[in-house]
């Protein structure tokens, strides 16, 4: 029944989808953490309250992504993760600190709260930086030359700024009053990071290999591709323009920067996916070479097709239940 399906492609698409969802959703959680030092203690409580009910589910997309990589492309999974051994460890320690600080900062004795706030920030920062570093290294083909590491350090900074940007736009939507004003300022600062980061990656990617270069600048392709940069430019313009006017009376358009930044992340991701396909380890292993046995993929696919819509449905339910401006989190 599944013999005729292109299972490796389907799984690559699912993998890409969950990475994308992760980057957007946990991106704003991490961004909120990265913005912590700029906020007052009261603001911090509201900031945490705005992501409190969601962060765990958001992070689960990372578990799904790594799970799909592991189950669908076991060979690539080993090859990528052993190459990224240290940055992965940094990220894991960061995720640990960030995740536990959520709970400890509210439950530990008051005098420890500041320290846990520090852990929350440090954890978010470590996670953002290490993910950006891995992104850069991955683009460069997973090898540690000075030049590659240098590029990865740059993407580390840019991804971190991009996270803080999407986090700030999330706060524009979920908060009000002085904090919302501050969030607008933060977004105005952060959008530079996004523009520079996307620019740097776009400049570097085609020069990684002749294959990608041809894929970008070959003749019909360049026409199909041109909407990507054009749309991105439009979105940046839109965000820029809105940010200068927000917050507006009646809280109109407070959602626009966040929605537009999601679109921006999606476009950036699409560009990368286009460049690297069909490789899963850049320029070394394709998704077809790395895929598991079809019987095993098929059995996961059945489950995925049933469960994924359910997951999406109850995730939406949760966002809907906690809609509106962030209010103090209460267990009652």
């Amino acid at each position: 029944m599944f013999a005729s399906l292109d299972l490796p492609f389907i799984f690559a698409a699912l993998l890409g989808l969950s990475i994308l969802i992760y980057v957007v959703l946990d991106g704003f959680d991490l961004g909120v953490g990265i913005l912590f030092p700029f906020a007052t203690p009261d603001d911090r409580d509201t900031m945490v309250a705005s992501i409190g009910p969601f962060w765990d589910a958001n992070e689960t997309w990372l578990v799904l992504a790594i799970g799909l990589l592991l189950v669908a492309f076991p060979v690539a999974h080993g090859a990528i993760l052993t190459q990224l051994y240290l940055p992965v460890a940094v990220m894991l320690v960061g995720l640990i600190l960030r995740g536990v600080a959520f709970e400890f900062r509210a439950k530990a004795p008051l005098k420890h709260k500041r320290a846990w706030d520090g852990a929350f920030f440090t954890g978010s920062l470590m996670t953002g930086l290490s993910q950006g570093f891995m992104l850069g290294l991955y683009i460069m083909g997973l090898s540690y030359t000075w030049w590659h590491v240098g590029f990865a350090l740059i993407t580390a900074v840019f991804l971190t700024v991009a996270y803080s940007f999407i986090g700030a736009t999330w706060l524009i939507a979920k908060t009000e009053g002085p904090l919302q004003k501050k969030a607008v300022e933060w977004s105005q600062g952060g959008i530079w990071g996004v523009v520079l980061g996307m620019g740097a990656i776009s400049l570097a990617t085609p020069f990684v290999s002749q294959r990608i270069f041809d894929k970008w600048f070959g003749l019909p392709q360049i026409l199909y591709l041109s909407p990507l940069p054009a749309l991105s430019g439009l979105l940046v313009g839109l965000i820029w323009w809105k940010l200068r006017r927000l917050p507006m009376a009646g809280d109109r358009f407070a959602w626009v920067p966040f929605a537009a930044s999601i679109a921006l992340f999606v476009l950036g991701f699409a560009g990368m996916a286009y460049s690297f396909y069909p490789f899963i380890v850049p320029e070394a292993i394709t998704i077809y070479e790395a895929a598991s046995a079809p019987e095993s993929l098929a059995i996961i696919l059945v489950g995925t097709l049933i469960v994924l819509p359910t997951i999406l449905a109850y995730s939406i339910l949760s966002y809907w239940i906690f809609r509106g401006k962030a209010t103090p989190l209460r267990y009652d």
Partner: protein
């Protein structure tokens, strides 16, 4: 030699990470159901004490869950960073099982956790009760899938080897592999016991601080009775688990018993120092023939010995004896202590009631608050070290699966993890006792300290 060090360090690192991880699921699996029980009691009786019990323990749950989640994420990356050979060889079986865990369990827990913790005032009461139930169900599903995989690694079946790679042939056989029911049952009971003693222990601590509120008296009673009911079942289940292991992994049982020669009338050793170099035990103290009776129901029953698992070339194909021998005794020892403690407690409750519990007993119980952790870790060490030198029994050896990462790199990450874990365990136990002390002082939990994020306690919303 470099890879040898990497192997050793990677094993220690994996052992450390999974040991840290298992502490928290062990609590959340059963605590979820206990919370559902509190919630349902409240719905049925409208008695505030159940709401208070729920309010206190849901905080413990939230904290524990967060630690379980972050350490679990570390686990999922470990396979790739340290054991690439595992997925490359048995990925066709392990992959789908892990995938189903993520799909059917993790998302369920994670999403409904938000509603369970913070949604009570935003959703109808029935939906909040349902969310609590779904979170409990989700944690149990996690345990189910991961234990299916773990049991399959001990008693693999339903697969065939093609070019050295495992391919699944029969999913039914894989999921219901011979040791799965015993391991799942024993683990779920272990979780129940851990929570029983945590409930009783923390409540005892609060009673000692003169907190006589109705909710503490009830949670104390629930803890002691739950413990008293579960422990005999656990001992029985443990015995059946052992018999199952004898059938499928006799070398592990031989190590657990410290038995070198295949023979009858094997004593049950209470103490011994196994010596692998001399292949014998020193300072044995044992009860004659009891091991034969337990394992074969016959004093003359022949029990396999470790010497049968050395090849003609002298290669040792049985696990290291001393750690298995000792961790098994620690687990069983804690089990016996639990039997004593919970039955004494149940007896005292019956004769004297909560308010007249001897202080000595309360001190004892607060000391046992985390005893479930010790038994659980010891049990897992028995199981996992007892499988060595195999990673997947008879299919894949541990050294064939390790990653070729430089040893110093593994050492660095290992040290960092250990430091983080030690800090977090202390913070965790400290905060739980702090919460108990605060509650005992009668302060409504977060006696508004401008704590908004993630905290509050008042009259339950319904």
């Amino acid at each position: 030699m470099v890879t040898m060090d990497t192997l050793l360090l990677s094993r220690i690192q994996f052992g450390a990470n999974i040991s840290f991880h298992i502490l928290f699921p062990t609590i959340t699996i059963a605590l979820g159901w206990v919370l559902l029980f509190f919630k349902l009691r409240f719905n049925a009786t409208r008695d505030r004490k159940w709401a208070e019990a729920y309010m206190f323990w849901v905080k413990v749950f939230a904290l524990t869950f967060a630690l379980g989640v972050v350490s679990g994420i570390t686990m999922s990356f470990q396979f790739g960073t340290n054991w690439p050979g595992f997925m490359e060889t048995v990925g066709n079986v392990a992959g789908p099982l892990l995938a189903y865990e993520v799909l059917t369990a993790f998302f369920l827990e994670a999403v409904f956790l938000g509603i369970m913790l913070f949604g009570a005032s935003r959703v109808p009461g029935w939906l909040h009760t349902l969310a609590t139930g779904l979170v409990a169900f989700g944690t149990t599903m996690s345990a189910f899938w991961i234990l299916v995989l773990n049991s399959w690694m001990h008693t693999p079946q339903g697969y065939e080897l093609r070019d050295g790679i495992v391919h699944a042939t029969d999913w039914w056989a894989i999921i219901f592999n011979p040791s799965m029911p015993y391991r799942l049952g024993h683990m779920l009971l272990a979780s129940g016991l851990t929570v029983a003693f945590l409930l009783a222990g923390i409540s005892a601590l609060r009673l000692l601080m003169n907190d006589r509120s109705a909710s503490v008296r009830s949670t104390f009673r629930v803890g002691v009775i739950l413990g008293a009911v579960l422990i005999p079942v656990q001992i029985l289940m443990g015995d059946m688990h052992g018999l199952n292991t004898l059938e499928h992994q006799p070398q592990k049982v031989a190590a657990m018993e410290g038995n070198w020669e295949t023979q009858g009338h094997v004593p049950l050793l209470l103490f011994a120092l196994p010596d692998e170099a001399a292949r014998t035990n020193h300072f044995e103290i044992g009860i004659p023939s009891l091991a034969s009776i337990i394992l074969k129901h016959d004093p003359a029953g022949i029990v396999p010995g470790l010497n049968d698992f050395v090849t003609a070339e002298g290669e040792v194909m049985h696990p290291p004896v001393a750690p298995v021998f000792w961790s098994f005794r620690i687990m069983v020892g804690v089990g016996m202590l639990m039997l004593l403690a919970s039955w004494t407690g149940a007896f005292l409750l019956w004769r004297r009631g909560v308010d007249a519990m001897p202080r000595l007993y309360l001190y004892g119980m607060s000391g046992l608050a985390f005893s479930g952790w010790i038994a659980t870790l010891a049990g897992w060490y028995t199981t996992e070290i007892g499988r060595q030198p195999w990673l997947v029994q008879g299919v894949l050896s541990t050294k064939a699966a390790v990653a070729d990462v430089p040893a110093p790199m593994v050492l660095t990450t290992l040290l960092v993890y250990l430091a983080v874990y030690a800090g977090l365990i202390l913070a965790y136990m400290g905060v739980i006792t702090y919460m108990a002390r605060k509650a005992a002082r009668g302060e409504p939990l977060p006696k508004d300290e401008r704590v908004k994020g993630g905290e509050a306690m008042a009259v339950p919303a319904e």
